[in-house]
């Protein structure tokens, strides 16, 4: 009988704000992994908190999938009061019952509605703090009867977190699935589910997941090669326990000054000189001759002369855009950054920087609720052309001191 290997939990740039992988990028990756001898038949896009009934998109995806000979299906990952839940077999009737953007949907109703409308729900990354069901079961003894399936092999979770989910499944007779939870192309297929039989459509997938007799198990990518064995999944007892979990930290309501969002101000000027380029290159041991060797840059470079390393923009002493005065949590961390380079920067350029608070938003993570502030800075040269733009995302959240016990697993972000 044919087996089918499906990655059931994948995020793309088409619908998830924190993803970097495009749908076509994933499809090309499948082809590349197959060429290396792995089995990967397809994947399910499960964007965060959104699912559009869009025949046009389905057609476009079907066409793409056919071109690469990959099974490409769509579900959704929603956020409930016991953590995140994957829903497969999403119907207009299901969508009519909830506002998917709500980050605290009632879990029992979500599982029930999925089942009643012909689909099925799966408790995502079950062992992850806050956003998986295990924490909620251990802390509040939530009723597990609406759950039949949990994701206990998640490519974004640590071994410890996956073991917590596996333990819960063993103790309560829940079926287990595996998936990558990939946000980036090269993570696709890191974990998957192997189904006995041929799964080609969402109807096939839902039928298998709903059928108590259907055969499926979580697998890791390296276990899909011919002759490879599927190893036994570790339990918590078999792993060294972690001492550094942050646990329940709560967080206050997000309060900030909305009036400053989108207001762009001049925050600084950078004069790029041959000397400043030279000093920057020396400090960073940057040896690209395009920055310092005029003859090479003229002869071989794509710009007909010297250019400045893009990183020189980071040396500008910049002021702050208007402060949104976020009151949330007790600590801030850098959550991400984006740099875009549009035009070369040349010695002699005078670059003006303009910054704004682009957005302020909230979401839930392993340590509870978090608030994000995104600052965008635009760099314009003396000709009025934008040469680059950067975005920096800061996360505001609650942390508490580490106890004076020996360190176990690392911290968390």
């Amino acid at each position: 009988m044919t087996d089918t290997y499906l990655d059931l939990h994948v995020h793309s740039t088409d619908g998830s704000d924190d993803a970097g992988g495009s749908v076509e990028g994933y499809l090309k990756w499948v082809v590349a992994k197959r060429a290396q001898g792995y089995r990967l038949d397809g994947f399910v896009l499960t964007e965060h908190r959104r699912y559009e009934v869009d025949p046009e998109r389905d057609r476009a995806y079907a066409e793409l999938a056919a071109r690469y000979d990959v099974r490409l299906l769509r579900g959704v990952e929603v956020e409930t009061d016991i953590g995140h839940v994957l829903v497969f077999g999403v119907t207009p009737e299901f969508l009519g019952r909830f506002n998917l953007a709500d980050v605290g949907l009632p879990y029992a109703e979500v599982f029930r509605a999925a089942w009643e409308t012909g689909g099925v729900g799966v408790g995502a990354h079950a062992g992850r703090p806050r956003i998986g069901v295990v924490d909620h079961y251990e802390e509040r003894a939530v009723d597990l009867s609406p759950l039949r399936l949990v994701e206990t092999l998640n490519g974004g979770s640590s071994d410890f977190e996956n073991a917590r989910g596996h333990d819960l499944a063993l103790a309560h007779g829940l079926r287990e699935v595996g998936s990558s939870d990939s946000h980036f192309v090269s993570a696709l297929g890191r974990c998957m589910t192997r189904f006995e039989g041929d799964i080609r459509t969402m109807d096939d997938l839902v039928a298998a997941l709903r059928d108590p007799a259907a055969g499926f198990v979580p697998v890791r990518l390296e276990e899909t090669k011919p002759g490879a064995e599927i190893r036994e999944r570790p339990t918590v007892a078999s792993l060294i326990p972690s001492t550094s979990r942050q646990g329940e930290l709560g967080g206050d309501a997000l309060v900030y000054d909305r009036s400053v969002v989108g207001r762009e101000v001049h925050v600084g000027r950078l004069e790029v000189t041959p000397e400043s380029v030279q000093a920057f290159c020396e400090a960073l041991d940057e040896r690209n001759p395009l920055y310092t060797d005029e003859e090479f840059a003229r002869e071989h470079g794509p710009y007909g002369g010297l250019v400045a390393p893009p990183g020189i923009l980071q040396t500008a002493q910049l002021g702050q855009p208007p402060d949104p005065k976020v009151e949330f949590g007790n600590n801030t961390f850098m959550a991400g950054s984006r740099q875009e380079y549009f035009l070369p920067i040349r010695p002699g350029d005078v670059i003006d920087a303009y910054a704004q608070i682009k957005e302020v938003y909230e979401k839930t993570g392993r340590s509870g609720r978090m608030a994000f502030v995104v600052r965008r800075t635009r760099y314009m040269n003396q000709h009025g052309e934008d040469v680059a733009a950067t975005e920096t995302s800061m996360v505001f959240r609650q942390t508490r001191p580490v106890a004076d016990t020996p360190a176990g697993e690392g911290g968390e972000a």
Partner: protein, 167 residues
């Protein structure tokens, strides 16, 4: 440096394959972090404050903030990620965009595998899809990752890079 030397590490679009990997190792120590912080001038973060900068250098302050050890600043992790991209592409490559997402802290002394994986080579699946002439630079997408020896990937991102073609 003569021209031949400068171009010997140049990577060309025609030579790049989806799935190929490039790695370097880094182990940022407290001394490295202090040197980085004194040479750069971080301007304080996105509308946030400078609160808690001691976590980058002081073990006690780090623990007060819930961290096992002092952490590497995000700007320094970004610099490490940028460096692997520029080392990979060679002098005539150009970074079009670089997105970096911080998922867990990078701790002082962590041994880091910096990994770049080619995930897309422009119009591979459909020739001409990117509208580029044959002579124009080719666009390559990379996933870039810092991986620690606890099996975590604290920093993940994507880069879009232009590479020259062999003429």
């Amino acid at each position: 440096m003569n021209d031949t030397e400068a171009l010997q590490d140049q990577r060309y679009f025609e030579d790049v394959e989806v799935g190929s990997e490039f790695e370097e190792f880094q182990q940022p120590t407290t001394e490295h972090v202090k040197a980085f912080m004194s040479s750069s001038m971080p301007s304080g973060g996105g509308g946030g404050s400078d609160r808690g900068r001691g976590r980058f250098s002081d073990a006690g302050e780090a623990r007060r903030q819930g961290l096992e050890r002092p952490i590497v600043p995000g700007t320094m992790s970004t610099a490490m990620i940028t460096r692997i991209v520029t080392d990979w592409m060679g002098p005539l490559g150009r970074i079009v965009s670089l997105d970096v997402s911080f998922r867990r802290p990078v701790l002082h002394g962590d041994r880091l595998r910096c990994l770049a994986v080619v995930t897309d080579t422009g119009g591979d699946g459909e020739p001409g899809i990117d509208g580029l002439e044959d002579a124009a630079p080719g666009i390559v997408r990379l996933d870039v990752t810092l991986e620690n020896d606890r099996g975590e990937q604290p920093v993940q991102g994507t880069a879009e890079v232009e590479l020259p073609r062999r003429m």
